[in-house]
């Protein structure tokens, strides 16, 4: 009979197996509960570790660059989770099938090693991941709903209000006009019934004779003078605008918004216009600079799918085809201008000449870029000579003058400075 019994002396039928299974599960769950602390101090310390090292790629309950972290210790034993945090590639290399498939699922994005984290740090971190900042789903939904409502209420109102107010005003004015007309007719009727002398009758029944006014010499002279003045002004303005492209704002092949990139996102001009400090031209960025961000950012305002405008960058990169931007500022070939000279040495802000670029949806030429415009600035701008030995002798020579050293004093008005 003994031979039919198992080594532990208990028959391994289905029931015992099931009991064993649950015991094992139980101990494992117990083990997790023991390792992952739930004290406030541990969670707080863990949150600090999380914010310093994890938050740019992970959220607790949402997928981000990496997976949502909560429940990590349910999915894998805590000590394997810890060694994965320390050196993820080593765990994957050791053949852990769960983490290998996770790595594949996230496009083989390598997680940075965190060997410097102590065991205590890791325990606190796990405590925070499992127990910290728990959000009630219903409350979260309500909060996001409220936010959405506020956002939709925020925009559009002023414009609508303005239109309504204008409409109401027009209606009120028309009503007043009608009422006034009625009053006049009523009064006239009333007056004609009274006994009036001739003078008063004439006054009541008088009609304005517009024809006479139009034919009077005074009127003709005034109107002619006004028309001539207007036409002359337009003609002169037109003549002065020949060769000046101020206001030119062509449509670009990609509807790139400076208001979004330079305004809302506060990307500095030099990030893309890399030539501005080292050369004559500020440069238009090539597609690889766009791709620094747009590899990841495929649509505006977090929308799904690829924006048709951003798709144009991808097409350009895929086909090795340059993007043919339309040049906005066309300084004539007869004048020389150098960006680095003005931006580095002159320390001039981009906006001084280009205007409020960070507010422009479509870039237009802000300044006139005429010679008078250049010269004006050269006459007024003082030179920062401090800390630049190049100017020492010029300052010495200029020291007799009462005025400050300006660009005009060091050749800023010489013809051959710009025309050669």
């Amino acid at each position: 009979m003994l031979s039919k019994r198992s080594l532990v002396g208990v028959r391994l039928n289905f029931h015992t197996l099931a009991v064993l299974f649950f015991i094992l599960i139980g101990t494992q769950a117990f083990a997790v509960a023991q390792e992952v602390a739930n004290s406030d101090e541990a969670v707080a310390a863990g949150k600090a570790v999380f914010n310093a090292n994890c938050k740019t790629c992970h959220k607790l309950d949402q997928k981000m660059i990496g997976p949502a972290l909560r429940g990590a210790t349910d999915r894998q034993p805590a000590d394997i989770v810890k060694s994965f945090i320390k050196n993820s590639q080593a765990v994957i290399a050791s053949g852990n099938s769960y983490y290998s498939s996770l790595f594949k699922e996230y496009n083989n994005t390598v997680m940075v090693s965190h060997e410097f984290l102590t065991d205590e740090d890791l325990n606190n971190l796990l405590a925070y991941i499992e127990n910290g900042d728990k959000v009630d789903p219903a409350a979260a939904a309500a909060a996001s709903g409220a936010e959405g409502g506020e956002a939709s209420a925020g925009g559009g109102i002023p414009n609508e209000y303005l239109t309504v107010i204008l409409g109401v005003l027009v209606v009120v004015l028309l009503l007043i006009l009608v009422v006034l007309g009625l009053i006049i007719s009523v009064l006239t009727k009333y007056l004609t019934k009274q006994d009036l002398d001739e003078d008063d009758k004439e006054f009541v029944n008088q009609k304005t004779n517009l024809g006479k006014v139009f034919k009077s010499d005074m009127f003709v002279v005034i109107v002619t003078a006004l028309v001539i003045a207007l036409v002359a002004k337009t003609a002169l303005d037109g003549l002065y605008s020949v060769g000046v492209q101020q206001g030119y704002a062509p449509t670009q092949p990609i509807a790139y918004s400076h208001a979004l990139h330079a305004g809302t996102l506060e990307i500095e001009c030099q990030y893309c216009h890399t030539g501005v400090e080292i050369g004559r031209s500020a440069n238009i960025p090539s597609a690889n600079i766009c791709m620094n961000c747009h590899t990841h950012v495929q649509n505006v305002q977090g929308k799904e799918g690829v924006s048709p405008e951003i798709q144009k960058i991808y097409n350009a990169v895929d086909n090795n085809q340059p993007i043919e931007w339309v040049r906005v500022h066309n300084l004539p070939d007869l004048a020389y201008f150098n960006h680095s000279q003005h931006v580095v040495v002159g320390d001039i802000e981009c906006q001084t000449c280009h205007g409020p670029i960070q507010e422009m949806e479509v870039v237009g030429q802000h300044s006139a870029l005429t010679m008078g415009w250049c010269i004006d600035c050269h006459r007024q701008t003082e030179i920062t000579t401090e800390g630049n030995a190049y100017y020492d002798k010029l300052v010495q020579i200029h020291s007799d003058s009462k005025d400050a050293l300006k660009v005009k004093d060091i050749g800023g008005l010489e013809c051959a400075k710009c025309h050669y």
């Binding site: 310093a52 090292n53 740019t56 981000m64 660059i65 990496g66 994005t109 390598v110 940075v112 090693s113 965190h114 410097f116 984290l117 028309v227 001539i228 207007l230 036409v231 002359a232 337009t234 003609a235 303005d237 037109g238 605008s241 020949v242 060769g243 000046v244 492209q245 101020q246 206001g247 030119y248 704002a249 062509p250 996102l265 506060e266 990307i267 500095e268 030099q270 990030y271 890399t274 080292i278 031209s281 238009i284 090539s286 690889n288 600079i289 791709m291 620094n292 961000c293 590899t295 990841h296 950012v297 977090g302 085809q321 340059p322 040049r327 066309n330 004539p332 070939d333 007869l334 030429q365």
Partner: protein
Amino acid sequence: MKIAKTLSILGIAVAGIALAGCRAGGENQGLEYAPQMYHSVAYEPLTQIVDSETKGNLISTREDGKGEYFNSNINNPHHMNMREPVANTVPRNKQGYLPYRYKAFEVEEAGAAMKNPIKLNDEVLAEGKRLFGLYCTPCHGTSGEGDGKVGEIIGGVANLKGGAYVGLSEGHIYHVITKGKGRMGAHGSQITPENRWKIVHYVKQELQGGQNADNAVAVADADQDVTQVETPAN
């Protein structure tokens, strides 16, 4: 007399309206005063007239029959004016920097081999801070903690003060700026080598508290030739 007067007024009006049309605005580039002095005969950067037939064809004196201002280089791909460097040649600048030869994945080798050739001083640090503000803050934030406005959209931006990064070598940081790593793109085309090393100094000294910095070495080998510091050919 009356007809002459009316005609002259009409004439002025027409001239005024016609001249008003010369004004630039929107899509209209406006009338050019002396176009032959405006357009360059030589190839110019960022200026290219690809229209070979219509632009200025009335006054064209060109022998090839193309439009007066046509200045695209028909020998280049896409008729572009800029040219690629001649094959198998190496551009060198006055600082003696050679082209960067480490591949993007060779972070470890680059990090171990390269030392910062720029001597550390206050001026370099100030310049590094300025450059960091131009090229790094959109993602890494002013404080380097990965909280820039663009970084929030892209996600996965390194916290330069985080434990995983403070101990990295200066060569490693230089390599990542040049070639990119993970979600960060390569910034080698935007920032000159000297400026990259200045940013490295700023990140190491100001943001990461000088941990694992090269400056001790750099001071000792002050006379070192930068060409030797720059990457070996491989």
